[in-house]
């Protein structure tokens, strides 16, 4: 498709600006020529062409509303439409962040209650809703850990990260000035306790653990893990991206986590928007409450108010209060499905993952053959060995079958990883036809590996040259 710049024609516009109803002034004089720009080269298109351009672009995009999207670690559940409608209420979209608290009592109540709900669901003492995404929440959490030790006067430059961890975990540690040390998984796919014991010293601020981990396996030894970390005075950080596996079933606070970040755009069903906006609330145990970002909401007889009078706070991690409108959707979701619905969602998510695991077991290698939680991880190694078909080929071929591919090549410790997270919103028929497609591709890999390697065949572009893209980056159009 043409770029918007390529269809631009001098003199067109899709948005007329109103004539001024106040006196105009000579801007060159009033502001000074040196402060003014000399060119403004934005696309010029009529509304019809604008709408066609973006509508046709949208038709080159795959979303959950079109079909199954088992992207592991991303919890691509179907997002109920009512949440979109609620979030579009002018009462929610229309307020300026600096309007008086008395004008925003609805918003404040919503945020306050959301913190309470999350605290209850996760067994934490308090939550902040300020971080804009999961990784931002991680950073916020790690900053609180840093502050905690700073206040205690302890120097702990190291943070432990399991080898299965998501890349954001070490990156967040690093962005907060920590040295990251990798913790090994054992042959069961969970934390190697001995390795943890050997690493966990008084120089270690804490461990960033994902539970269930990115293999979809619950860290069975969580009690012992927490014990080891806490015994050395460390803190246990939880990456809550996988929270869809345990809603109403277990609570990180009870398991010994001191701080946990969530991804509302995963677990709490806010749509991912093609890469955001998300929302990454952070919950803390009592130890860390003082360090939460400001402002925080105070409830009193007069209603709800913002306050930044928390001297030990890490400060702000962004302007204003977070991705408020995303929180509205997640709050609506929680209210609409209720306590039972959350638990049911988790149960169905875990059921679906195990169902897929079971159905595909004969056809794909399983690095860890255990009951899984909300996602299951296969390896494409057998296919590589048998016919040179890689996981990336299998993924691309799935596109031709009408599916979004699973997450691939993650977690890093599984060679040729295929990480499938079906979520709870998918029907048995969808799971069955997806498994049929995977099985058919496994057969194709043997019988016609070339076709698999040349896939996808059904898309407007075929595989793109990523090496070229990286070697000669073209990230902005030039005439």
């Amino acid at each position: 498709m043409d770029l918007i710049f390529e269809i631009s024609r001098t003199g067109r516009s899709a948005a007329a600006v109103s004539a001024s109803d106040v006196p105009t002034i000579n801007i060159d004089e009033a502001i000074g020529k040196k402060y003014l720009r000399t060119d403004l080269d934005l696309p010029e298109v009529a509304e019809v062409d604008l709408v066609r351009h973006y509508t046709n672009l949208s038709r080159r995009n795959f979303g959950v509303d079109l079909g199954f999207y088992p992207l592991g670690s991303c919890t691509m559940k179907y997002n109920p439409k009512v949440n979109e409608n609620v979030a579009a209420f002018p009462g929610f979209t229309g307020l300026h962040p600096y309007c008086a608290d008395e004008s925003a009592q609805g918003n404040l109540q919503l945020l306050y209650e959301m913190q309470k709900y999350l605290s209850n669901i996760f067994g934490m003492t308090e939550f902040t809703l300020q971080p804009a995404a999961g990784a931002h929440g991680e950073l916020t959490g790690v900053m609180m850990i840093k502050k905690y030790f700073e206040k205690k006067g302890e120097k702990r430059p190291i943070i432990l990260i399991p080898d299965t961890a998501h890349g954001t975990n070490p990156a967040s540690g690093a962005l907060c000035g920590f040295e990251t040390v990798t913790l090994r998984s054992n042959s069961d796919g969970v934390v190697d306790i001995e390795h943890l014991k050997s690493l966990m010293t008084e120089a270690v601020a804490g461990l960033m653990l994902t539970n269930p981990n990115t293999l979809g396996l619950f860290e069975r030894n969580i009690e012992q893990v927490a014990q080891i970390v806490h015994d050395k005075g460390g803190l246990l950080y939880g990456d809550g991206a996988n929270a869809n596996a345990f809603l109403g079933k277990a609570r990180p606070g009870d398991l010994g986590f001191d701080v946990i970040q969530l991804n509302l755009h995963k677990t709490f069903s806010t749509p991912h928007g093609g890469g955001g906006p998300g929302s990454g609330p952070v919950g803390v145990s009592a130890k860390l409450v003082d360090y939460l970002p400001v402002p925080r909401i105070i409830k009193s007889g007069n209603g709800y108010n913002w306050s930044d009078k928390f001297p030990n706070t890490i400060g702000r991690v962004r302007a204003f209060y977070g991705n408020f409108n995303v929180v509205v959707k997640a709050y609506t979701y929680i209210r609409s499905i209720g306590a039972e619905g959350l638990k049911h969602a988790t149960e169905m998510a875990v059921l679906n993952a195990n169902y897929i695991k079971e159905k595909l077991k004969p056809y794909f290698d399983q690095p860890y053959d255990r009951l899984c939680m909300h996602e299951c991880v296969f390896s494409g190694s057998r296919q590589v060995a048998e016919s040179g078909v890689h996981t990336s080929d299998i993924a691309k071929r799935l596109i031709d079958y009408g599916y979004h591919p699973p997450t691939i090549y993650f977690p890093l410790i599984v060679p040729e990883a295929i990480m499938i997270e079906p979520t709870e919103t998918e029907s048995k028929e969808t799971l069955d036809t997806f498994c049929d497609a995977m099985i058919a591709i496994a057969a194709e890999a043997k019988e016609n590996p070339q076709r698999v390697k040349e896939s996808p065949l059904s898309t407007p572009v075929s595989r793109l040259d990523e090496v070229l893209a990286a070697r000669k980056p073209d990230v902005a159009w030039n005439k």
Partner: protein
């Protein structure tokens, strides 16, 4: 509501296929003592009709203003209808980050176009796919400058948005940097002499905003020169993005990074979020900048297509050595901004002029009231600072009339007591403003 399609028969069949007698067996790995025995303390489920009623109830506890005179980092602008229609396309908003390029050409191309528009608007050569918001974009730019230079001192103008300075402070504390503020002059612009004094070979970055928090337009070129002379980099922000429709962008005046809040471009106020972090830079920093980048390339048939590129900068490949930890960004807000900018096109300049006219009108009207004075002399865009006899009282009167008043600057600048920061955009008509004056005077 319940969004899980399984019927009891489905569940029974699946359990038997898996070889379990009960769902509970699937949770066997959770140690018995940690298994939650009681129900969560969350209100009971609602039907969709009840959900709407409940949520309307909450929304109606908010008081939507008749008018707003507040800017201060979040701007009330008219959003053309097309924007909502496009970002409301399910294919866009129900997609994840475009990891699979072949079925994500829609968002990839749209972001590539956004990057191009932003690079042009900011006067730089490249822009990323977005950051969380303007403040975190500025903070990440500061950290990046320090990391690239191995320097540890960061300078920020006191006239930068107070919350942005706080965010920069948080990020810089976390990395052990030394953050220093530079005062503003009577004109409202940065004190260049003070800046020069503070600049030494430990300074990684100088952070300014133009228009700055007072609405005042900074003279970027000499600031850039000063920074560059000491080997520091200039990170220039802006307040209202629509100012880029008329003002010389900092990238042209020598800034190395241009960062700021893109909310003005087609994104609603939303009580502060989601917003759009704009991050643009000189081309030479391309392989170091944080965040996603979409690049153009070709398929084997020579067809142009778009991919996420230079991912080796990113956390999922580089892990602790990544240029940032950012993963999800604000793609849909960037899409909205792209649609908005494409809709306005060159009319963005006309819109910016209109904002200036409105602000000048409102300012002149306020100055006609006894006891009201202009605080800063330098030129402004659509925000300006006035001192009045009793700022609190002014805002109370306005609030009583359903109008959001100005930002009370003394909270962050004790020296600016009874000073109010006002904003006028195209959303204020002459009648609106005359009404404001009636109420205030």
């Amino acid at each position: 509501m319940d969004y899980c399609p399984h019927t009891p028969e489905n569940i029974a069949q699946m359990q038997s296929d898996i070889g379990i007698a009960s769902i509970h067996e699937l949770f066997a790995d959770i140690p018995e003592k940690f298994r939650l025995k009681s129900a969560l303390d969350i209100p009971a489920a609602l039907s969709e009709q009840e959900t709407i009623a409940t949520m309307s109830g909450l929304a109606s506890k908010n008081k939507l203003p008749q008018l707003t005179l507040m800017g201060a980092g979040a701007y009330s602008h008219f959003i053309p209808a097309v924007v909502g229609h496009i970002v409301g396309r399910a294919e866009f908003y129900t997609a994840y980050t475009p990891y699979q390029a072949e079925i994500s050409q829609g968002i990839l191309q749209a972001i590539y176009e956004y990057q191009t528009m932003v690079a042009h608007l900011t006067g730089t050569e490249i822009a990323n796919a977005s950051m969380y918001d303007g403040s975190s974009a500025m903070a990440e730019a500061a950290v990046l400058c320090a990391k690239m230079s191995n320097r540890t001192k960061i300078i920020v103008a006191h006239s930068v948005h107070p919350e942005y300075r706080q965010v920069v402070n948080t990020y810089s504390w976390a990395n052990g940097y030394n953050l220093v503020e530079i005062p503003y002059m009577a004109s409202g612009q940065i004190d260049l002499t003070a800046l020069q004094k503070e600049l030494d070979d430990q300074v990684a970055a100088v952070l300014v905003q133009s228009p700055n928090f007072f609405g005042v337009i900074e003279d970027i070129a000499p600031i850039a020169d000063a920074a560059h002379q000491k080997g520091a980099l200039l990170v220039a922000g802006f307040t209202d993005g629509t100012s880029l429709g008329i003002l010389q962008p900092a990238g042209v005046s020598g800034a190395d990074f241009v960062v700021g809040e893109g909310q003005s471009f087609g994104n609603p106020l939303n009580y502060g979020g989601p917003y759009l972090g704009i991050f643009a830079a000189k081309e030479k920093f391309m392989r170091r900048i944080p965040g996603r980048l979409v690049g153009a390339t070709f398929d084997k048939n020579g067809k142009r297509g778009f991919v996420l590129t230079l991912q080796t900068r990113e956390q999922h490949i580089r892990r602790e050595k990544a240029t940032s930890n950012i993963c999800s960004n604000e793609a849909l807000c960037a899409l909205a901004a792209g649609v908005y900018l494409a809709a306005l096109g060159k009319n963005l300049k006309q819109l910016a002029c209109l904002n200036i006219y409105k602000a000048q009108y409102l300012k002149s009207k306020f100055l006609g009231i006894k006891g009201w004075k202009e605080v800063f002399a330098a030129p402004v865009y659509n925000e300006f600072v006035l001192r009045c006899p009793d700022a609190r009282l002014v805002n109370e009167k306005l609030q009583a009339a359903g109008i959001i008043g100005g930002y009370e600057l003394h909270k962050d600048y004790p020296e600016l007591d009874n000073a109010l920061l006002f904003c006028a955009t195209e959303m204020l008509s002459k009648d609106d403003m005359d009404k404001v004056i009636e109420i205030v005077k």
